[in-house]
């Protein structure tokens, strides 16, 4: 099972994503409500993959990733952003921040696990 750190400020989305990821049976999930919380708990969890919401109050997804990258063992951890702002330019910008993929909201909960696994395979990380 892959350890997945999910950072999302919206409680409802967290719950839907949690159930969706559980459904896939591929992941052990740790969910955090903010970038700050993720930074605090990431090292102890040791994630294999990061799933980060982009727009969050306080630390944004990109800022959180930047901070996580400086932490032990997470320089190369594959990261995937989730965003509702899916303009091509915005997607390109996110991909340039060392992310292997961008999942556009609203996502399909049934195929979310498969999407993440596909992205990991494409990036040679799974």
């Amino acid at each position: 099972m892959l350890k997945l750190l999910h950072v999302e400020d919206d409680e409802d989305i967290r719950e839907v994503a949690n159930m969706a990821l559980e459904l896939s049976g591929e992941f052990e999930v740790l969910q955090c409500a903010s970038g700050e919380e993720a930074i605090e708990r990431a090292v102890g969890f040791g994630p294999d993959v990061l799933l980060l919401d982009v727009m969050m109050p306080g630390m944004s997804g990109p800022s959180t990733l930047k901070e996580l990258r400086t932490m032990e063992g997470m320089a190369d951890t594959p990261a995937i952003f989730m965003t509702a702002r899916a303009q091509p330019a915005e997607v390109e910008e996110l991909k340039s921040l060392s992310a292997i993929a961008v999942v556009v909201k609203p996502f399909d909960p049934i195929s979310l696990g498969d999407q993440i696994m596909d992205a990991l395979k494409q990036a040679g990380k799974a």
Partner: protein
Amino acid sequence: MNSKKFIMKSILLALAVFLLSPVVAAAFGYSLSRTLVPYITLAAGVFMALVFWYIFDGHSGEATGQSGRNQLLQEVSALNHHAMVSLTDRDARLFHVNDKLLEVSGFTAEDLLGQSTSVLYAEEDKHQFAGIRAGLDRGIPWTGETRMRCKSGKTIWTQATILPRLDSEGHLIGTVSIRTDVTTAKINAQQNDLFTTLHKLWDEVYMLDPETLAFSYMNEAALARVGWEAGEVKTKTLWDDCKDLDEAKFRARIEPLLTGEVDQITYADDIDGVPYNNRIQLITTYSGEKQLVAVLRDASEQAEVERVKAELLATISHELRTPMTSIKGAMGLLLSNAAGELPEKARSMLSIAYRNSDRLVMIINDILDIEKIAAGQMVFEMNTMPLSLVIDESIAANEQFANRFDVTVEKQGVDEAAHASYDFGRTLQVLTNLLSNAAKFSPVGSKVIVRVEQVGQSYRISVQDFGAGIPEEAQGRIFERFTQVKQDKSHRGVQGTGLGLNISKVIMEQQSGGIGMVSQEGVGSTFFVEFPVAEVNDSLQDQPAEIAS
């Protein structure tokens, strides 16, 4: 004059009496002495001389006198110098035109004499001819402004007075026309009106010579930006305003105007860090000169409005998508029995809600796309790659949707070597739109077939369904906005926005491609898109890693 006339009549009367006296004497039986004959002969000579003088000189002298005649001649001469005079016969044919008319019009007397006077009317004023003629027929003179056609084709404005020439019974036997060239005054008046308006426009207006690029006019807004006085304008050229003017580029830009290929050029430019929307036209002034008229509009406010609008739309999009993620996600999980088996009625109701949440997301996406198209912000990243890449991806992305309608998507004859230059994400959007439409309108258990074929210099990707087809009357507007084909009851729950095909059309046009359809009611529809064939050895670019939801 009157005393002369009296003396003349008295002498004539006396001579007449003297000459008649022998005749009267003979009548009463008296004979005249022979000595009187020479006197009578002399008196008869003087009488005849005076009668001739009276008839041929003295009589006209009675009417005008020598000085009057000179005055009249001078007046006619002055009139001929000042005005254009023409005479017509009863059929409105010219039989006299003066030198002034020939000089101004450029015609020769041979060109005009015998012709209908309508040859002198400008095309725009020929409708006046019948009305003027009708008045003259009733003996009513006409006065007014009319445009006169010159031999060169040029038109001049004239102030004309046309008098009827009537016979003793009051019948029209011709006309006398007197015209004065008032073109300059007319032009000045029109120019004054125009320039008063131009001068106060908020946009900057410049007029310049297309050859020398020397300015001839600037309005207040233009003067305010360049910081010149109105009196300086005619001493300046475009180089004085644009120090780093790329003359070759500017001349290339205005070339289509000068050749008449286009009637205006519009382009966006940046002047001293301020965005401008510019429009240039070539006009011919009233005096016949060619001039470039450039209208510059400060677009900074418009750019700011566009930026705020785009930001607002992006924010709204985000704010709508976030709750939709939870709604759609939660329903999707329930429908997949993630929270346990649902009663059939609950599943049915939840399916309706799920389909409509899908629709809401589609509406949000379509509205954003339409806004992007309107603002010219739809960006295309064109790469040359196999068409099979985007076809496979679109079929995979639509598999689940097609399954919902128990429709199978089948690929036929897709040549892996068929390459085209296209934006992967946008083309995927178009094919997804065509495939989802095909699935929606297909009978349960049927197939949707995707093909690729070469048609001339293009590759055509077609999506064929075996549904009800599109009524002929709806086919012509199928790619217009908000067009929706009536669906049968079984498809009511998957209604679209009516924007998808219009967006697809714009996307295809922006990629130098095209979109079309053929449909027959009761047989089915085939929608297709076409891309220009690309060389196979063109560089193959990586496909974007975005994952569509």
